[in-house]
Amino acid sequence: MGILGSDPYASLLASPLGKRMVDSLGLPKPATLRRYAVDAPLLDGPALLGWFGDDHPIAERIRAILDVEGVEVGDPFDTLPAAAVIVDLSGIQEPADLERLRAVVAPSLKRLTSSGRVLVIGRPEASATSAAQAAARRALVGATKSVAKEMRAGGTANLLLVAEGADDQIEAAIRFLLSGRSAYVSGQVIEVTGGGSAVERTEWAQPLAGKIAVVTGAARGIGAAIAEVLARDGASIVAVDVPAAGQALAGVANRLRGTALQADVTAPDAGERIVDHAHLRHGGLDIVVHNAGITRDKLLANTDEARWASVLGVNLESILRMNDAILRPGGLGDGGRMVLVSSIAGIAGNRGQTNYGASKAGVIGLTHYLGRDPGLRERGITVNAVAPGFIETEMTGAVPFATREIGRRLNSLQQGGRPVDVAETIAWLSQDANAGVSGQVVRVCGQSLIGA
């Protein structure tokens, strides 16, 4: 990762003297996160599995996944070390039932090994049939987010909401949240909305095999990482970037044995060129990642029309225009996946980034709308977004040291994420098996305190 990922504080921690200093001052101690590798096990140790109620079909589905992956299922009330604790609370009816969360998770926390996982399963509040049930379901959100903040040593806690009838579409999400793919995803609520069809068989080591994926802004940074991870998972890559970035783009395309398409996403024919290129050169189009984006930071008081227009033009309007061609029949194929890249600035806002914040919030609106579009759902197309927090890139490397240091520590994992963390989340959202997740915005922020 070289200079890009250079984190002097982490280096300090690695030295004995530094460690003593940090310990005595009570300073944050960021852990080395467990990240995905193709040949890595789903979990490094046993998983603890608990549930509420006599009937707990989701827990049984999860047990089946753990069995296939050879993960030992341990006893929640034992004392041996464990890599994850999973609790299926989909059947809770009233606040009193929440005791089950405490009973299962509380004793397990101290047993979790580094980069441990807490995974809570619930049902969406919106489909509750009583006030007590709605209250109990919502309580899981507050509880899980609080647990995420209590996690140590690179551990994460997330809540997976499973809509009624979508139980058979959870496998991709379960695997994502337990594996190293979700290293920098914590304190998140992700909903399996359903509506897709269960996928019969997935080659989990190559979940994107045979897919044709377009990534915009692919020449460097997060875009290049996205292309790389999608290719690793089996996809053929069409790497798109502005002509001026062509040299780096060619490097990415050749390394991944994909093709480079030099195109400005704001050009009126960009969408058509992308669709034509993917179909003609690769024979189809299955995945589109709208990643291209720019910043033109200034306080709003000093923002002229050009700065405003260029950021909204590249980050938001171009997506709408390109989608005219991409979402038309003959563009993105049936069962296609679209992932947009938003930002924490689109959720929390950021001083000096009114144009950027507007564009990235707009991306969320677009995701919500398209993700639920009946026509697209009919065609099996899902549309989701990721919202990165502080990610160590060339762009954040240019931020002044103090600001950067604050940015990278102000989250539950006490460190900046890596481009690969954003890419892994996008690769997961791009899987066929993820047919039941649409219209979601997944933050990749280590549970940033900003906009939480």
């Binding site: 062509g246 490097g251 991944l256 044995r257 195109a263 003609l280």
Partner: protein
């Protein structure tokens, strides 16, 4: 697709050759952004850009043919070494070729011929040159001394040889832009020809302005988005002056020719340039199998040479002779072309070429034609700019023109294009492309 599906093609009948696309780096003024780049750097980068554009990483092509005019001794196997440095499969054969400024186009003719004959199915033709990194040789005197030193047997003999070295021997021989047999530079030669044909300063400057405006407009409309890959921070040709005017050009002093009648300036002559280009050619079947739509067909090529040393013809007039031969072979006239690309070595080169073809006496007496070859509508000439604006890295110009013309024909959807490139040594290489 005009392929031959279902039709048995005899082994002896030539196949059609498709131009699939091209790539080049923006051409840079010598000593500028590419000052530290070698020919190998430029060509490798250019090939890799082409590989990326067409998704050829890991692919074995029939062959890669390229060359450089200014070439270091160490680059004796330049193209093959470059191929080994790219993402192409390492089992792709390659060789070097050199025909002065005709190198790039001649490379395309070679690759096309092999494809036509069925010897290969795909290939890349290219060229590179850098005037920023020219080879410098030891003087002949010093070479002689060093060879003698190598042969000397005793320490005494060696000491004697070493003692014979004189400071003057240490001056390196730098390649010069002069014709070895006349001692005149290309510009000086062209000045003589331009004067003979009475080419005016105004006409040359007008052509130069048009070249800059056309090239700038082509960049502005994104024409080069899939023809050029930026390199070392340069995204457009460094020589391009979109806002140049007749007035500005008129203010420049002549640099070639002498006295009153001198018309050739730095503004209407190409500067020394660094750059590289490459073109992907294939059979129709190979293109279809790779999901690549041909831009144009490479129809035919022709070279010619003139005796500029003892004869009456100017150094850069050989294309004037090559084109009628090529047209006759295909039963075509100048009026049959929708685009004409005449390499702008100098504005006057283009103007002399046009004038010669319009001149009935010249065409009858020198070209052996029944009358004038014809005239070319200026609206069809170098419509997206040419070397005066883009610059002219010698061996890279052919690839630049082939790829651009193929795309122009593809955009138009029909028609023919003619390429005419003059070269040192009194040579010329010309070719015909047809819309696919």
């Amino acid at each position: 697709m005009p392929c031959c599906k279902g039709v048995a093609v005899s082994k002896s009948s030539p196949r059609r050759v498709a131009v699939l696309g091209g790539n080049r780096v923006p051409f840079a003024r010598s000593g500028g952004p590419y000052a530290k780049a070698t020919n190998a750097d430029l060509l490798t980068t250019t090939l890799d850009g082409l590989v990326a554009r067409f998704g050829l990483a890991g692919e074995r092509l029939g062959e890669v043919v390229a060359g450089a005019v200014l070439k270091h001794a160490r680059d004796w196997n330049l193209t093959r070494e470059c191929v080994l440095g790219t993402s192409l499969d390492a089992t792709t054969p390659a060789y070097d070729l050199q025909q002065a400024c005709g190198t790039g186009l001649e490379a395309a003719i070679l690759v096309a011929n092999k494809i036509a004959l069925g010897q290969i199915d795909s290939g890349i033709a290219g060229g590179t040159d850098t005037a920023s990194d020219p080879p410098m040789a030891l003087s002949n005197e010093l070479r002689a001394v060093l060879l003698r030193l190598n042969r000397a047997k005793t320490p005494m003999d060696r000491a004697k040889v070493i003692a014979s070295i004189r400071p003057g021997h240490l001056t390196p021989a730098v390649p010069q832009n002069v014709e070895p047999r006349t001692g005149m530079s290309m510009g000086e030669h062209m000045a003589v020809t331009a004067k003979e044909w009475g080419v005016t300063r105004e006409a040359q400057d007008e052509l130069a302005v048009a070249s800059h405006r056309n090239l700038a407009a082509a960049y502005d409309r994104g024409f080069f988005d899939d023809l050029v890959t930026p390199y070392l921070g340069l995204a457009r040709d460094g020589n391009l002056r979109p806002d140049t005017t007749l007035e500005k050009l008129a203010s420049l002093a002549p640099v070639f020719g002498k006295g009153e009648g001198a018309t050739m300036t730095a503004g209407n002559s190409t500067p020394l340039t660094d750059g590289a280009s490459a073109v992907l050619l294939s059979s129709a079947d190979w293109a279809a199998a790779h999901g690549i739509a041909p831009l144009a067909w490479f129809v035919d090529g022709q070279a010619a040479a003139v005796d500029y040393v003892n004869g009456a013809d100017g150094l850069l007039t050989a294309p004037i002779f090559a084109v009628p031969t090529l047209l006759a072979r295909h039963g075509l006239t100048l009026a049959d072309f929708d685009f004409v690309e005449i390499h702008e070595a100098f504005a006057s080169t283009v103007l002399v070429t046009l004038a010669a073809w319009e001149d009935e006496t010249f065409c009858r007496e020198r070209l052996g034609l029944p009358g004038a070859l014809g005239s070319i509508d200026r609206s069809k000439l170098n419509v997206n700019g040419s070397s005066l604006a883009a610059g002219h890295p010698f061996a890279a110009t052919g690839g630049r023109i082939v790829a651009s013309l193929a795309k122009m024909l593809h955009e138009k959807g029909s028609g023919r294009g003619l390429i005419s490139i003059c070269a040192a040594g009194g040579q010329g290489v010309v070719a015909i492309l047809e819309a696919a």
